[in-house]
Symmetry: C2
Subunit: 462 residues, 2 copies
């Protein structure tokens, strides 16, 4: 399979069934969907092979020179690719020059962040400082929380859902259809029963459907993944309504809520009128990515949960001289320092300013798209602008847009300026005129994805 | 619990039962053991707090200065801690100065390494080059393998065992008692039945006990974790004997073998007389750590498996425009470049030289320990020297020794020179004379851990 993926549009609706849902895991059936999947280019043949050094390489210096040239070329491509990036929620604007002095060290926070292992080259001092900051942000006392810095948002979800399962071993996992795929991966890995709940057009969880499903499964506790910003539409599930629905359905004290705040978990505290994500509500865990809104050279994330839950998960592992309640064993000790550095420099106030800028710029983008006759939607609490998928895959790749079906999105991050948006918009408008000039085909209808009021296809434009 | 951990020896035998083995997971009972666990210092109060910047910080530059001073202090402690490190299998000797130019980029290989996602700032070209190198090392053809660069050895084990479970959903996981704790963590996470198999005194799996257990469970397929270098003793399970035992017990074609080669997976190919780890034998996956023998600023690892198995695990995730068969979603794109850089510089020949040096130096350490009257063991294929646990915990921490019960170990890595070993040995011999000078207590007997022939306690020394 690896070798056979081409460049363009590939229909994988048949292949997509392969191996999925097999095995012993009871999981809801996917509705039969026939969607087009765009796969990138196969990189198997375009890789930089590792070559065995010649015996006299050291003397001639040829090897060093060849490697330096590969790296210089690669660096140039990174500059170009970083410049043309709009689709993924990564803040590419950071300067960690002051930390390059640490790259020489093998920093490893293996095991629990709160208990030193015997390995001394770690950065727990920074990690705990960062965790304290997040616990304060989400209103959990120092002596009541536990957490760690993860490798990515997925690890946070894997951890939160695992904690939920350990608290309620027979619990059913509920997650909206628009939840990140790692939530369903967790269900499969952990052999949990999983119910996919419908969503509203905004992308939020449909609490009416949630209640229907709860009432069908009254006998089993509920483990719920609540999205604080969905991947595609940036929709924020209504946490208060989810809790109300649980209580009204007779689930008082028999539920565990994990909040997947991958991107928006760090933005929402700074959005006026946004519902609050706080441990003063009956939630079990919150996760957020570090490489998204904060920005970091490598993926990382923060996971915060209640200390009382963690005993359900932890076990004593003498080898590390440390309790092990994390998913991974060895853990990247550089990531906490990157996060610590940015949090210290920006502070709550700095993030607030950046969030406001992102929301403003997202509105600008949405307005300009619609002025140009391009259907677009922007959720009130979000900086993710969803719009008609550009027809040309080359254009999609150039701007690194994330696409699903007929829609694409741009996530307006702190590094996305008005200038950059104008550059993108002008190019899109110009190309689009060419794509549709002969009238042979029409821009797609996206009413099903974003609602009629946001669609500007031939049928829905006024 | 977090706040209550002190400095010295703490008896956690009661607490260790907390939450472990609870839940729906059928797992063998731990024998009641009463061992002392050394916990490090609690770092909750010693952390570097994140402080909200003052309004005028930018002008005064005070904040920048304060942060720079924290970092300079931290760097000094890293230098010191790196110098006094012997216990963990990390090669601390690397120079990635040429790569510091890349730290400014947010490099993310999200999803499958062989299929580009739409996110353009990735390093798949390097990742696939590295994977090809390892596939060649373990003798699997380019078009027959699948793999990826993981965050650590644990992720490799989690992946290998998950693949095994997807191939045999009802299979029982067999692993020797001296397997890495992540293997048992996987069993718990994945809700797999798990059987702990006895070990020989060397630390290798006891195939007689393995066979007894197989015969008790003839009706279920077997998923086996084979250790290529155990964590504590560096013992290499006899892969050929494991396969023979399976076949003789009637498990032909009904088994999946994952090889945990965390440290030694990259050393064993270069050890003369060592049994071969190769996909020409009926194994399913091999994992190895990247920050161990290769050396890397942050933890990482390599996972190689058969392409045919991966379909059991993968699912198509349109959002990434990529197939998802990895455990994590976003993946560190810097790690592959670090690995690529070192593999290119050293090549097979370079690693061979380093392996030989490590084995020589390990022999030197073992011999010198025994000359000094200190019980010590070194497995033939290993560079892990196991010896009597130093009495003083301060000394253990100073040299960052990994300990278990009465034994400690030093893992001789490429950065561990004869000079460093002499420095350590002289200090140990001197301190030890002081610990035991008054005759009030004796060095511990370690015959149970390493065999009578390797113990030099008062009972066993000749």
């Amino acid at each position: 399979m690896v070798g056979s993926v081409g460049n363009g549009l590939v229909d994988l609706s048949a292949a997509a069934g392969n191996g999925v849902g097999k095995g012993a895991l009871p999981m809801e059936e996917e509705p039969p969907a026939r969607r087009e999947v765009v796969l990138g280019r196969n990189v198997h043949t375009a890789s930089f092979a590792v070559k065995e050094p010649e015996a006299d390489d050291e003397e001639t210096g040829e090897r060093e020179a060849a490697m330096a040239s590969v790296l210089a070329l690669y660096r140039r491509s990174l500059v170009e690719r970083t410049k043309h990036h709009l689709g993924y929620p990564y803040n590419l604007d950071f300067d960690y020059g002051a930390l390059s002095q640490l790259q020489h060290f093998s920093i490893n926070n293996l095991g629990d962040p709160f208990i030193e292992s015997n390995y001394g080259v770690h950065s727990r001092q920074f990690e705990v400082g960062v965790l304290d900051w997040f616990a304060r942000l989400w209103e959990l006392e120092k002596n009541e929380y536990w957490g760690y810095i993860t490798n990515c948002g997925t690890e946070g979800n894997l951890h939160g859902i695992l904690v939920g399962r350990e608290v309620f071993p027979d619990g059913i996992l509920y997650a909206s259809r628009e939840s990140h795929y790692s939530v369903f991966k967790a269900a499969r890995m952990y052999r949990m029963e999983c119910v996919k709940v419908d969503t509203l057009i905004s992308g939020e969880i449909d609490c009416a459907d949630f209640q229907r499903n709860l009432l069908l499964n009254r006998d089993k506790a509920a483990i719920i993944n609540v999205n604080i910003g969905t991947t595609v539409k940036g929709a924020v599930d209504d946490l208060d309504l989810v809790i109300k629905t649980l209580e009204e359905s007779g689930f008082k004290d028999r539920f565990y809520i994990h909040c997947d705040g991958a991107l928006f978990g760090l933005m929402i505290p700074f959005v006026k009128k946004a519902p609050k994500v706080t441990f003063k509500k009956p939630i079990g865990s919150v996760s957020v990515s570090g490489h998204k809104f904060v920005g970091c050279p490598m993926p990382c994330g923060v996971q915060i949960t209640r200390l009382e839950h963690i005993n359900a998960l932890s076990s004593n592992v003498e080898y590390l001289a440390s309790r092990d309640a994390t998913i991974m064993g060895s853990r990247n000790g550089h990531a906490p320092i990157f996060l610590w550095y940015t949090l210290n420099r920006k502070g709550y106030r700095g993030f607030q300013k950046e969030v406001q800028k992102c929301l403003r710029n997202a509105h600008y983008l949405k307005d300009r798209l619609r002025e140009a006759g391009i259907g677009a939607m922007l959720n009130e609490l979000s900086s993710t602008v969803v719009f008609e998928r550009p027809k040309d895959e080359e254009f999609v790749r150039r701007w690194q847009l994330a696409c699903e079906g007929n829609i694409a999105h741009v996530v307006v991050m702190p590094n996305v300026t008005i200038d950059k948006l104008d550059y993108f918009l002008n190019e899109l408008v110009e190309k689009r005129a060419a794509w549709y000039q002969d009238g042979m085909c029409q821009p797609p209808c996206i009413a099903r994805d974003v609602g009629q009021e946001n669609c500007l296809c031939i049928l829905h434009k006024k």
